[in-house]
């Protein structure tokens, strides 16, 4: 067993699960999507990205790119949230909530791809 692999897998799966937790529930109901869950998903996704830095293999490159996509989507969701609450002042209306959740849904897809790559990599491993 390799501690580095454990941590790597842990963060990738955690990013996906947190993202899923935030995403699940009716898309336009703010009470079903907690801001802390989004924050946790974003932070874990950023850490997962940093963990993927510096791998020069083809699979490493795909890993990094899926993570970057997830980060981008989650940051966009967070900015949408902040703009709605603090800048325009309209609050978490169903339309704003739907766009935040759908953005996180995109990130969820990228995270799922990440997990699939992780599984493929593990299956290919011969040692």
């Amino acid at each position: 067993m390799n501690l580095e692999k454990v941590i790597f897998g842990f963060f990738i799966v955690l990013a996906a699960t947190l993202n899923f937790g935030f995403f699940i529930g009716d898309i336009d109901r703010p009470e079903l999507h907690h801001v802390y869950e989004l924050a946790a998903a974003l932070v874990v996704s950023l850490i997962a990205t940093a963990l993927k830095f510096g791998d020069r293999t083809q699979i490493g490159a795909i890993h990094l790119s899926t993570s970057l996509v997830a980060d981008l989507q989650l940051i966009a969701a967070a900015i949408t949230w902040a703009v709605a609450v603090h800048v325009t002042g309209e609050g978490m209306t169903p339309s704003v909530m739907s766009s935040v959740v759908s953005l996180s849904g995109g990130a969820l897809f990228a995270n799922i791809v990440s997990v699939i790559i992780l599984i493929i990599e593990t299956v290919m491993l011969r040692r």
Binding site: V35, Y36, A39, V43, L46, I47, A50, L51, F53, G54, R56, A78, W81, A82, V85, H86
Partner: protein
Amino acid sequence: MNSAFFLALRRMRVPIIVLIVIYSVSVLGLTLIPGVDADGKATAPLSFFHAFYFISYTATTIGFGEIPNAFSDAQRMWVTVSIYLTVVGWSYSVITLLALLQDKGFQNTLTTNRFSRRVRLLKEPFYLVCGCGETGNLICKTLDRTGYAFVVIEKDELRVQELDLQDFKSDTPALAADASQPGNLLLAGLKHPKCRAVLAVTNDEDANLAVAIAVRLLNPAIPVIARARSPAVAANMASFGTNHIINPFTRFAEYLALAIAAPEQFRLIEILTSLPESPMPEPHRPPSGYWILCGYGRFGHALAERLKPAGLELTIVDPDCSPDEVPHAIRGLGTEAETLLQARIGDAYGIVAGSDNDVNNLSIAVTANELNPSLFVVARQNHNVNSALFEAYGADFTMIPSHIVAQECIAILTTPLLATFLLQLRERDEAWSGALVSRLQELHEELTPAVWGIRLNISEALSVYRALMQGQKITLGEILRDGTNRSLALPAITLLIRREDEDILLPPDNFLLAPGDQLLLASSLSTRRNLELTLYNPNELDYVLTGHEITGSWIWNRLAASKANGNNTTR
């Protein structure tokens, strides 16, 4: 992406994760701790947005104060903790980044990347020079002056830095690396489509051999020119099909033998193969007869081998020479009068000071001259740094190995036709050579001419090629006119014209040119530029041939043509 970027990312992994964790913990704390309003009543904690904003300016030590409202004491406690946390996190990241930038390996990666990118982006044909010592430097300077691009690999980092300080016209990529490693050669563009030739002129015989072998195996299409001092290495190189092996010792010995046998021919070869626009060499007239040879190493052997057949009687003076090997050899350095007298210096016509020690060579030459002032002195100069001493002494003939190698490399590389010409002139007599020498000297009194080649094709001589393809009759004399004032003839001598397999030596001025002709010319570098422009630019060519000044613009040309037609019809 390049490897330096990946290396940086890999090293920055831990600091970045530390920063993310510290930020998220600090922000999370602020979103949980309740604030306080002006009346002292508890209010809701900061939102994520405000908390992130606050931590961002606090962590980067910008510090706008407590925004949007004054904080509660609980919040201040937490902020105190996060300030220290974030400062530590940032310092750690910055220190790691600085350490990475100063890392020798990282810097090497950066310079190597930059070098290979510059080589990859080279658009003009270039030469790959391996080794930039005395010889390599001379070659680089000449290539630069004559307008050829080149790439340098040199083992010594100091020499590469010195190269940066020299005022080269072109921006030369140079790498401090071992040329004997094939990877470095590939990095320097061995397989680059524009790489024309490789020169192996390092100080290390084995490295030169390794370069020659690597080029033969990795890119057999391009020629490789290698320097070899010992016959064994030269033979090894030859067995690998090295195109040209230059041994400065044998080459000089051949020159000296030729200078004794046919002085005019030797002088012609010397002028033609010297570096372009270098001082005109002194005429050498070494006498035949009895000679003394001091120093019997590789140079001495090469000399003895070639001078004896030329009819010279030789006495060898060497400290380590055994009498079994060479009969009548005299033991000694030759720096002291006694040894030289023993070698019958009074009867000698010439002496070669040919040891591998510059000071000893000078000492031999000075002592010999005192004993016999009419002696012809040949001195071997091993290092460029001693140039001042050898110039002050003024031997009749000074042999500088680095010059010989550089001259030959340049001559072979830049003018492939020159080798043909040199072969052909050996069949001519002394008077022919003498006449040509005086013509060459008329071009310029003090500087040697540049010998260069041009082919009348689309890429090198566009305008002449087009004119010839249209059936225009152009003689050699017609294009050898000054492009700024066509009443003046250009000071240039056409040495050779190659048409398919036929070589015409010293063609006359009324020689009719044909497309595809290869010309070998001797002229100054400025004359060369003048003629190259004439041969390439249609307007310049038109002026030189007819005296008409034509502008290039299409409308103007049409107007001029219709005007000429109008004149014709009215007439």
